[in-house]
Structures are given as structure tokens and as C-alpha cells.
């Protein structure tokens, strides 16, 4: 399967050219960003109470 490219955080990543470790790191970064932004959003909606 040709993996193609993915755009994330203003960067283009060539998935076919990445090593397993590089991919794992990218995955962890995306997960962390996601979790953090959900935490912040939850704080925003709690701002009422």
C-alpha cells in the first residue's frame, strides 16, 4: 500500500519515506495535541459554571 503524505501542524509528512520510529513519534505528538486541545475546550465550556 502506498502510504502517501499527510499534512499536520503546517508540515507535510511523506509517510512512505518515514521510519517506524519517526512515525511512532509523530503519532504520539498528534495524540498529545489532541488530548491537550480537548482538555482546553472542556475548560472553556466549564467557564460558565
Amino acid at each position: 500500500m502506498k502510504l502517501g503524505t499527510v499534512v499536520y501542524g503546517n508540515q507535510i509528512y511523506n509517510l512512505d519515506g518515514m521510519s517506524l520510529d519517526e512515525m511512532k513519534l509523530l503519532l504520539q505528538n498528534i495524540e498529545n495535541d489532541k488530548r491537550e486541545s480537548i482538555r482546553i475546550a472542556k475548560d472553556v465550556i466549564k467557564n460558565n459554571e
Binding site: 509528512y13 509517510l15 512515525m23 498528534i30 480537548i38 475546550a41 472553556v44 465550556i45
Partner: protein, 293 residues
């Protein structure tokens, strides 16, 4: 620092846009990652098998030269068998990767539901705020309350003046009061409904988060199981193969004079290639077909 509703909504819109990109990017990278894990694991295994074949060939005939005419036929056989071997492993990894792919897609669905429910929470909060304001400031209610006040004043005045109070006035007062109560109830019912929606939304959010966490750990587990499965597939360990290995060793002990008289290619075929092909076939028939269901 208390944010205005406008500021909150601005933040949430940015969060909505960023989240859509993050969720989708995560899914693509995850899918690419599991594919690479498969390819890497399969490459390791195929290389190991190739080295094992080479070792076995040299065990049969230490003098065997790779460049020789005879090797061409053997090279072709080895190449075909390894292709076959690799394909069986690719089919095996596809089975697992298919399962993981479904989990990744389910995770995308849950994450987008979670993002949606966060926005929904804010929407419902603002709705409740709006309705409470309406309840306080509704003009119809206000005029009914003013009417009630006016009628009570009239009744008071007539009583002060010791004049008769017209029963119609009392009826009017009671009617107005009923209207006020009904209006209040309507507003309260509407607000109650929104509060219920808010609680349902909160419950949903928790469920989404729980399921996402379960999926994350399930994906890791299946990926590990896949790697182990690939490493274990078609390994020598079965009883039918040990005699072949022993046979080669016996050949090795016979003097080189006798060994060099055998057609190496034929021996390689019967003692290495054919048993490996058999292992591949048994694997396809037994394990692979049960996976495809």
C-alpha cells in the same frame, strides 16, 4: 478569567477546525504505521528464512558455488518459494490490519462525536441562559404581572373606600394568576428539557471517551498479536521437519567425495524447498483459511 460567550465560541470554532484535521491526520498516520509494522516484521522473517535456506544449502554441499550453472535452477526455486512464503505472511498481516483499520475508523467516529458533543454542551449552556433571561423578562408575563398588580390595587382601594368589590374583579385576578403560573410552567418545562439534553450530552461525552481509550489499547494489543503471529508462522518446530534436518547432517558427515557426487539442486529441492512449500500450504489451509472465515 471569565470569557464572554463570543470569546468562548471563537475558541470552540477554532477547536472544531483544528480537531477535524488532527483526528483525520491521526487516523492516516496510524494506518500507515500498522502497515509499516507489518512490512518490517515480514521482511525480517523472510530474510531470516532466506538465510536459513542458504545455511542449509551449504550444509548439503559446502563447496556449492552460487555462480555456478546449477545454481540458476535452485535460485529460481528459492525465489519462487520465498515469494510464496512472503505472500502467505502478507495475507496473514492483512487479516490483522483489516481488524485494526476498523478500530481506527470507529475511533474517528467516536472522536468526532466527542468534539461535536463539546460544542453541543456550549450550545445548550447558552440556550439555558437565554431561556432564563426570557423567563425573567418576557413581555407577556410582565404585562400579566402588571395586570395582576393593577387589579389587586383596585380591590385594595375599593376595600379602603368600603365599597363593594365586583366579583368579576376577583375572577379576573384569579384568571390572570393562572395565566402567570402557566407561562412560568411553560418556561420551566422548556428549560427542564434543555437541562435534560445537557445531562444526556454529558453522559454521551463520558461514554465516547471511555470507548476511545479502550480502542487505543485494543489497537496496540492486536498489533502485538500480529507481530507474534508473523514471527511464529510456518516456523520449523513441527515433527515432520526434524528428520530432514537430521538427514542433512548425516550427509554432512559422509565424506565430501560422496556428497559432491549428488546433484545439489535436486537435494536442495527435496530436502529444503519441498518441505518449505509444504509448510506454506499447510499454513494456508489450516491457519489462513480459518482467519478468512
Amino acid at each position: 478569567m471569565k470569557l464572554t460567550n463570543q470569546q468562548k465560541c471563537e475558541n470552540l470554532l477554532k477547536f472544531y477546525d483544528d480537531s477535524e484535521n488532527n483526528i483525520k491526520a491521526d487516523a492516516l498516520v496510524n494506518r500507515a504505521y500498522i502497515d509499516k509494522v507489518s512490512k518490517q516484521t515480514i521482511n525480517e522473517k523472510v530474510n531470516a528464512q532466506m538465510n536459513s535456506i542458504k545455511t542449509e544449502i551449504y550444509n548439503i554441499n559446502p563447496k556449492f558455488k552460487e555462480g555456478s550453472k546449477n545454481y540458476e535452477a535452485t535460485k529460481k526455486l528459492v525465489s519462487e518459494t520465498l515469494s510464496n512464503y512472503e505472500q502467505a505472511l502478507l495475507d496473514l498481516s492483512s487479516f490483522y490490519d483489516g481488524k485494526i483499520e476498523q478500530l481506527i475508523l470507529r475511533k474517528v467516529e467516536l472522536e468526532s462525536s466527542l468534539i461535536g458533543s463539546i460544542l453541543n454542551e456550549e450550545y445548550l449552556n447558552e440556550n439555558i441562559e437565554k431561556r432564563n433571561n426570557q423567563k425573567e423578562n418576557d413581555s407577556v408575563k410582565k404585562s400579566v404581572k402588571d395586570n395582576i398588580k393593577a387589579v389587586i390595587e383596585k380591590i385594595k382601594n375599593r376595600r379602603t373606600a368600603n365599597a363593594e368589590v365586583d366579583p368579576k374583579m376577583i375572577t379576573n385576578l384569579l384568571d390572570q394568576q393562572e395565566v402567570a403560573i402557566e407561562l412560568d410552567e411553560q418556561f420551566s418545562n422548556n428549560i427542564d428539557k434543555i437541562i435534560k439534553d445537557k445531562n444526556d450530552n454529558k453522559d454521551s461525552m463520558e461514554k465516547f471517551e471511555q470507548e476511545i481509550s479502550l480502542i487505543n489499547s485494543e489497537i496496540d494489543k492486536i498489533n502485538e498479536r500480529k507481530k507474534n503471529s508473523i514471527y511464529d508462522a510456518m516456523e520449523i518446530g513441527g515433527k515432520e521437519l526434524t528428520p530432514n534436518v537430521k538427514k542433512i547432517k548425516i550427509f554432512g558427515r559422509i565424506t565430501r567425495f560422496f556428497v559432491s557426487r549428488f546433484n545439489t539442486a535436486k537435494v536442495v529441492q527435496s530436502t529444503i524447498i519441498d518441505p518449505l512449500n509444504e509448510r506454506i500450504e499447510i499454513f494456508k489451509v489450516n491457519e489462513l483459511s480459518s482467519m478468512k472465515g
